[in-house]
C-alpha cells in the first residue's frame, strides 16, 4: 500500500521558490549559530507524524568515527548551540561521549527527547550527565489528552511521557532557579494547523501543574512537516493536497528572515550535511550539493544558497518555525 502512494510533493501549490520570488524574498544562509546532530533514525516509537520515518526497525546510527568528525567540526566552527536529535538520540551508544566532548565547546547543548526513550533508557549516568552539563531537554508532548497523544505516538506513550516529565522535574529540569531547562514541543495530532503558541503554553502550564504537578519552561507549537511517515499518512487519508494548501495559504513572508535553516547546519547520521533536519528527510543536501563533513573546505556558509522544497511551507505558515 505505502509503495503505491505518489512521491509527488507538489501538493497542487506553487513551488516554494516561486512563492519566495513573488514576495521578492531570497533565502540565503546567515551566520551558523546551531549545529544540529542527527544521531540516527533508530527510535523506540513509531510516531505517525515523524518526517524521518524513524522507528525500532531502523538501523541507521551515527558511528564513533563520524561523531569524532562532528566534534572536530565544532572545535573549529564554535557554534553557540549544539542540538542533538534523532530518532531517539538516547539509543545511540555514543550519546554520552558526544555530550561530554561538546560541553566545553558550546554555550548550550540541547537534547531532543521523546521522553519514553530517556525514561526507559534507565541510565543514571546519562541523567547525571544531563544535569552536570545543564543540557536543555526538548521534549515532545503533542496533547494533554491521552488518546490524542497515543494516536500520534503509540499506545501507552502518554503515560510514559507523564512519568518521564515527573522524573525530570524531580531532577530539577523545568524548575525555577535550577538552571536546568525543560521545554515542550506540541505538534498537531493530524492534518491541521497548530494551536497558537502563547495560548497553548498557558493551557499546558495550567493543566500539567493542576493534574500532575508538572512544570516546564517553554512550550513550542509547530506544524507537522509533510515528509516521511506523515507524508505517507496524509496521502493515504487523501489529505495531502488540502494540507499543503493550508500551509501555502498561511505563508507569512515575515517568517523568512528568522527561519532556523538560515542559522543552522544539520549533520546526518552518516556525516552528510543539510540545511535542516527536514531537508535531510527530503533528501535535499545542503545548498543542493551533497557534501560530507570530511570534505568541508570552509566553515563560513554565509550567503550560501539554502535548498528548498514545498515542505518548507510548514516553516513559513502563520508565525513560522524558527
Amino acid at each position: 500500500m505505502e509503495n503505491q502512494i505518489s512521491q509527488d510533493r507538489g501538493g497542487g501549490v506553487p513551488d516554494f521558490s516561486q512563492t519566495l520570488n513573488q514576495h521578492g524574498l531570497v533565502l540565503k544562509r546567515g551566520e551558523t549559530i546551531t549545529l544540529q546532530v542527527n544521531l540516527g533514525l533508530l527510535c523506540n516509537q513509531v510516531c505517525q507524524h515523524c518526517h524521518l520515518s524513524a522507528g525500532p526497525g531502523r538501523t541507521e546510527l551515527m558511528d564513533l568515527n563520524t561523531i569524532h568528525q562532528v566534534i572536530q567540526f565544532q572545535k573549529k566552527a564554535g557554534c553557540e548551540v549544539v542540538d542533538i536529535t534523532g530518532g531517539a538520540p538516547e539509543m545511540n551508544p555514543h550519546l554520552k561521549e558526544l555530550i561530554e566532548k561538546m560541553a566545553g565547546l558550546s554555550r548550550i547543548i540541547m537534547l531532543r527527547s521523546n521522553l519514553s526513550a530517556l525514561y526507559y533508557a534507565d541510565d543514571p549516568t546519562l541523567l547525571s550527565l544531563l544535569v552536570k552539563h545543564k543540557v536543555t531537554i526538548v521534549s515532545s508532548l503533542p496533547s494533554l489528552n491521552l488518546s490524542q497523544t497515543d494516536s500520534q505516538r503509540g499506545e501507552g506513550v502518554f503515560d510514559k511521557s507523564i512519568k518521564a516529565l515527573k522524573c525530570l522535574n524531580e531532577m530539577g529540569f523545568g524548575k525555577e532557579g535550577t538552571g536546568l531547562v525543560l521545554d515542550l514541543v506540541s505538534s498537531p495530532v493530524g492534518a491541521f494547523m497548530p494551536t497558537d503558541q502563547a495560548t497553548a503554553q498557558k493551557r499546558f502550564r495550567k493543566v500539567l501543574k493542576d493534574k500532575w504537578g508538572i512544570v516546564f519552561n517553554q512550550l513550542f507549537t509547530f506544524a507537522n512537516i509533510p515528509l516521511g511517515r506523515f507524508e505517507t499518512w496524509l496521502k493515504k487519508k487523501g489529505n495531502y493536497d488540502t494540507y499543503l494548501n493550508s500551509l501555502y495559504k498561511g505563508f507569512n513572508p515575515c517568517t523568512v528572515e528568522g527561519l532556523m535553516c538560515r542559522h543552522l547546519i544539520s549533520i546526518a547520521w552518516d556525516g552528510y550535511l543539510y540545511d535542516c533536519d527536514f531537508n535531510l528527510a527530503a533528501g535535499l543536501p545542503k545548498s543542493n550539493v551533497r557534501t560530507h563533513i570530511s570534505e568541508l573546505t570552509t566553515l563560513d556558509f554565509k550567503h550560501q544558497e539554502i535548498a528548498v522544497g514545498n515542505h518548507c511551507y510548514a516553516c513559513t505558515a502563520g508565525s513560522g518555525f524558527t
Binding site: V189, F192, T195, T199
Partner: protein
C-alpha cells in the same frame, strides 16, 4: 453527482460580500470580534460554535469548527461532550413541551 452542498464553497464565503459589501464588512468584523479571546477563551468559543453547528446542522459550520476545535487544542472527548450539551438542550426542548401536552390532556380528559 451534483449536490446542494459543496465543501469548496466554504472557501467562497467571503464572496457573499460582492453585492452588499457594507453589510458583509460589518458582519465579518462582528464575526471576527466574537471569536477573539474575551472572558471566554478562543478554545471554549470554538466548542460552543461546534455545538451550535450541530444544532443548526450546517455542514459548512461542522467542517469549519471541527477543524477549528482541533486547531485550538481540543480533543475528541471534549468535542463529543459539547455535542451532548447541544443534544440535551434540543431533546429537553422537545420533552419540556410535554407539559403542554399534559395540560391539554388534563383539560380534555375526565
Amino acid at each position: 453527482m451534483e449536490t446542494y452542498y459543496n465543501p469548496d464553497d466554504l472557501l467562497k464565503f467571503e464572496e457573499i460580500g460582492k453585492d452588499a459589501p457594507d453589510l458583509a464588512k460589518k458582519f465579518f468584523e462582528y464575526y471576527g470580534a466574537v471569536f477573539d479571546e474575551g472572558e471566554l477563551t478562543v478554545r471554549e468559543k470554538s466548542l460552543i460554535a461546534l455545538a451550535v453547528a450541530h444544532t443548526i446542522q450546517c455542514p459548512y459550520c461542522i467542517d469549519a469548527y471541527t477543524k477549528g476545535c482541533l486547531e485550538k487544542g481540543s480533543n475528541l472527548a471534549e468535542m463529543t461532550e459539547a455535542l451532548h450539551v447541544a443534544t440535551a438542550i434540543r431533546g429537553g426542548a422537545s420533552l419540556v413541551h410535554g407539559v403542554q401536552m399534559r395540560n391539554i390532556v388534563e383539560k380534555l380528559s375526565m
